[in-house]
């Protein structure tokens, strides 16, 4: 995501770095926008990072 600069045009702030925030951030960067992903805890990942497997295929969640 590169280093932050001030006054970026075309920047987007995403509040919350769970799976939803991360996916939105990935898509927006691919679409050509600079993203600030703001997360209140020390790491992104949200609740999905706490899950073991996912329904219904029981794939690994991490």
């Amino acid at each position: 995501m590169g280093k932050a600069m001030n006054n970026r045009e075309g920047a987007v702030m995403i509040l919350g770095g769970g799976i939803a925030g991360i996916q939105a951030a990935l898509d927006l960067t691919e679409l050509g926008f600079y993203v600030y992903l703001v997360e209140k805890s020390p790491a992104v990942g949200g609740v999905m990072a706490q899950l073991d497997k996912t329904f219904p295929t029981n794939d690994c969640s991490l």
Partner: protein, 937 residues
């Protein structure tokens, strides 16, 4: 990425916001921290670990989990001895990289942004609500979140399920559904939409750990309405997990066990003893929802989730601010992922003018030259995948085995090879040991090869100097009962891969330009929304519709469950599509042929009929499949035979009409008519809501109407639960029926008679209502033709199969082709709109970039060996080899961008002049030799 950050203020308007963020100190310099973990070992203070739901103890200075991003430790000030009492500071000298800095201060930052996406997730149910189940009083009552950590291999108990009270393994376990959801008592009248799924998942995982454990799930309705979710419930039932329809009153300690009191449908109270009780707790609005609303001035609904409208489901009440994920309403991972992509495309549309400004492209270090005759220095990394691999395969033995092989310079094991820290290890080892080939034995290259190839590029290696061994999906998972043979198989596969790796070569990267236009197939609400969104992002599309006019199924709907009028919205949408300069609509049209590949498709579209039939070719870069679906009309319950039997859609039409008797005095509704194991094997997700929508309308027109609903599970998930509650308050009677005791509808003179077993009164009932309304399912419109034409996989139920059900819900396995709407699976209008916006986001990515990369594994012709026979040209199914005159002689040449890397040409070339990147004869033969060479290394 700004972590440990609080959102303080937001000023300005769409296109020009200023957000104020407070960065709380980590007390550790992120750039210096190597995540070695020494500090945690030395820290003397205990700290309850919230990442593990309080089930484990860590230290104030720690990292939540090994794969955490950023991979930097932090100090939790709430329990740090120095930050609380100014003593200790043991960690400071311990840290070898001098990363600990107690002088760090909070830092306020202003961010200038054009738009905001809110994805704060969800909150947890207040423990007070859980008290009646003895939660907090007895250690063996846990929440599903806590239980999830317990079953996790990398969790505090390495996945072992046990009772907290005395460490014994539970023999009998219960899951209680709807804890803190569908519960007016705690003001959460809605359904949390995920608990049924996670309870079934956790029950299945528990059974995997210990097949002997007896598990009962107490539920009101099992809401597995998602695509192919019912199948998992059936799987759970098949392996002996019990489902009991009952309301649990309380859980009380009883000797060293727990006693669960519940009431069944027939009014009986029963008691059952259990060793462990798991509470399937719901999702609440985030704790700081009100604060976020105050700062951003967005509106909230009555449950404090973000308020939105069904036709624009992600738009908040403030322009420039959209919402995604559970804050919009409780939802699962694929729905969240879909909403995020949709939020991205909405934002991209609003900020179209400033796209690309201020973004730096990722750069890679210069590629290290690996010449053909350089001696191979192979690094082998064998993955545990938590316990996914290591519980079956002896990972250490496989790694050691690889270590003894010729050319293997370095070998090791990884707990999770895909984790961020493992990537750093791989990069470091490539440099340290001058590795020029990397072999990773882990999961499937189909999912993880790109990730590792990226790591190779970051380390300055050509990404093709890589080989993957699949010892999970195709070994540990399928040979769970034969650990020794699975280990032998893993060794053999690693040997074959290393043998191939000795011969692999660096391949050049190529790119091809993209035609900036989309082809959207199907002009229902999905296709129209996708094309409009692309238009708003600045891209042209050709929207083809097989019918006479655009609009699709929306034409049959009149109002939504939320009470919104449909037709006026449809008209606005249709007008917008017709007026858009970026959308070319062709009706009465069908796709006849498509050639090409992502970025460069050429499709033949036939339109008109008979003599007026014309064909045109359209060049485009991406395809969005939105072919839709329709009502399934089962040949059952006298549908089509009696005028008194209608589908919900027909009833809706009747209700929207003007006839005085449009809302009959008595109606019996039959849910799942033809669905869930009948004609259709699946749940169509929308029928329960459709029934309720009609019920409320009937009651609005004719409050005296008597309505009975015969159902299997009422699946009014999310906020639709409110409508279910309202209907019951109005006196509508809901009676469940069992699949082996379906209601019967017969003709009796001019009347229809419905016979069913009343499970509440425990007796057979016969009645003659004025009308029988069937909630029939949804079937996809013809998916076979498109599936063959574009080589797209479909599910057993004939819906298109997405590339990954969780993480790539709108992409199909063919690059450049995306899916949305009913063609993907049954879903209501709001979810269809979101999915269409998400498909537009994904489709816009190659269009924005303007180029796509060609996989370097394509064929290439060594022209000095080519004798110009032309056999390859005649065999290539993709027209990707052409004959050319080179110095007056016929020579074959590959069109790289069209080549699909199938290798037919290489397999048939009589002079071995054709070589496949990454799959050369030499490489494959060496792999085959290694297959036979069981004794050698």
């Amino acid at each position: 990425m700004l972590t440990n950050a609080d959102f303080l203020a937001l000023e300005g308007t769409a296109g020009n916001f200023t957000a104020t963020i407070n960065l709380r100190p980590r007390y550790i310099d992120a750039d210096a921290c190597t995540a070695c973990g020494l500090c945690t070992q030395y820290c003397p203070k205990h700290h309850v670990d919230p990442y593990n739901e309080g089930l484990a103890i860590t230290r104030p200075i720690h990292i939540d989990y090994a794969q955490a991003v950023p991979a930097t430790y932090y100090i939790d000030p709430s329990s740090c001895l120095f930050l609380q009492h100014e003593t200790c500071q043991i960690c400071v000298p311990v840290c070898q990289s001098h990363a600990i800095n107690f002088k760090q201060q909070p830092e306020e930052r202003k961010l200038h942004v054009g738009a905001v996406i809110l994805s704060p997730g969800f909150g947890k149910i207040d423990p007070k609500t859980l008290a009646k189940f003895s939660y907090g009083k007895h250690p063996d009552v846990v929440t599903a979140f806590e239980f999830e950590r317990m079953t996790t291999a990398s969790g505090p108990f390495q996945g072992e399920v046990k009772c907290f009270s005395d460490g014994r393994h539970p023999k009998r376990m219960a899951f209680i559904q709807c804890v803190g959801s569908r519960d007016i008592g705690c003001n959460n009248g809605y359904c949390s939409s995920v608990c049924c799924m996670y309870a079934i998942k956790e029950a299945l995982v528990t059974k995997e750990h210990d097949p002997e454990v007896d598990i009962t799930i107490y539920y009101m309705d099992i809401r597995t309405q998602g695509k192919d979710f019912d199948a998992a419930r059936e799987r759970a039932e098949a392996i002996g997990i019990k489902f009991v329809r009952a309301k649990v009153a309380d859980v009380t300690p009883w000797e060293n066990r727990l006693q669960l009191t519940y009431a069944t449908l027939d009014g009986q109270h029963k008691f059952e003893p259990f060793d462990l009780v798991v509470l399937s707790v719901g999702l609440e609005s985030p704790k700081d929802a009100q604060k976020i609303a105050d700062i951003t001035k967005i509106g909230l609904n009555k449950y404090d989730f973000c308020a939105t409208n069904g036709f624009n489901p992600l738009q908040t009440s403030q322009e420039g601010i959209v919402v995604a994920g559970a804050f919009q309403g409780p939802k699962d991972i694929p729905e969240s992922v879909t909403q995020s992509s949709a939020a991205a495309s909405l934002t991209a549309a609003t900020l179209k003018k400033v796209r690309g400004k201020g973004v730096e492209l990722k750069t890679y270090p210069e590629e290290q030259k690996v010449a053909e005759d350089d001696e191979a220095r192979i690094g082998v990394f064998v993955c545990h995948c938590g316990i996914n691999i290591s519980s079956v395969v002896d990972v250490a033995a496989v790694a050691n085995y690889a270590g003894d092989m010729k050319n293997v310079t370095y070998y090791t094991e990884n707990l999770y090879s895909c984790s961020q820290d493992a990537q750093e290890v791989i990069k470091k080892k490539i440099k340290e040991h001058k590795l020029n080939r990397v072999v990773i034995a882990a999961c499937s290259p189909r999912t993880h090869e790109p990730l590792f190839q990226e790591t190779l590029r970051d380390a300055g290696l050509n990404r093709n100097l890589f080989e993957m061994v699949n010892i999970r999906d195709q070994c540990s998972w399928v040979h769970a009962g034969e650990p020794e043979l699975a280990t032998v198989k893993s060794k053999d596969l690693v040997r074959m891969a290393v043998s191939k790796a000795r011969h692999i070569q660096a391949l050049p990267e190529q790119t091809v330009p993209v035609t900036p236009k989309a082809l959207v197939v199907g002009a229902g609400v999905a296709g129209m929304t996708a094309a409009l969104n692309l238009a708003e992002q600045g891209f042209a599309s050709v929207l083809i519709e097989k019918g006479e006019s655009i609009g699709g199924n929306l034409k049959n709907l009149h109002h939504t469950l939320a009470g919104d009028e449909v037709q006026s919205h449809l008209k606005t949408l249709v007008d917008k599509v017709k007026q858009s300069k970026n959308i070319d609509v062709i009706c009465n049209a069908e796709l006849v042929q498509t050639a090409g590949f992502i970025g460069n498709f050429a499709s033949v579209i036939a339109s008109g009929s008979g003599k007026d039939k014309t064909e045109q070719t359209v060049d485009h870069g991406v395809i969005i499949v939105a072919t839709g679906g329709r009502e399934h009309r089962p040949d059952k319950y006298l549908l089509g035979k009696s005028k008194k039997v209608v589908t919900q859609q027909e009833l809706e039409k009747q209700l929207a009409g003007k006839a005085k008797t449009r809302a009959p005095g008595s109606i019996v509704m039959i849910q799942c008519a033809g669905s869930r194991g009948d004609d259709l094997n699946y749940c169509s997700k929308v029928c329960c809501n459709h029934a309720l929508k009609n019920i409320l309308k009937v009651k609005e027109i004719n409050p005296d109407s008597q309505i009975i609903v015969l159902y299997r599970d009422m699946r009014t998930y999310g906020f639709a639960e409110d409508a279910y509650t309202e209907a019951r308050k109005m006196g509508v009677v809901f009676i469940p029926y069992e699949v082996d005791r379906k209601p019967e509808v017969t003709q009796k003179g001019a009347k229809v008679q419905v016979r069913f077993f009343d499970s509440i009164m425990q007796e057979e009932v016969t009645m003659s209502p004025d009308l029988v309304a069937l909630s029939v399912g949804i079937v996809p419109d013809d998916t076979d033709t498109l599936s063959k034409l574009l080589k797209l996989p479909v599910t057993a139920n004939k819906f298109f199969l997405e590339a990954h059900v969780k993480l790539r819900p709108v992409e199909l396995s063919v690059s450049g082709v995306y899916v949305c709407g009913l063609a993907h699976g049954p879903k209501p209008v709001d979810e269809t709109i979101v999915q269409a916006q998400a498909a537009a986001a994904k489709a816009a990515i190659p269009l924005v970039k303007g180029y796509v990369k060609v996989d370097p594994i394509v064929s290439s012709v060594q022209q000095d060996k080519c004798i110009g026979c032309g056999l390859c040209v005649s065999l290539c199914p993709y027209g990707a080899i052409v004959m050319q005159k080179v110095d007056g002689k016929r020579k074959a040449e590959t069109v790289s961008a069209s080549c699909k890397a199938c290798g037919i040409c290489a397999a048939h070339c009589p002079t071995f002049a054709i070589s496949m990147g990454g799959f050369t004869n030499e490489q494959l033969i060496s792999q085959i030799e290694a297959f036979g060479a069981t004794g050698d290394r």
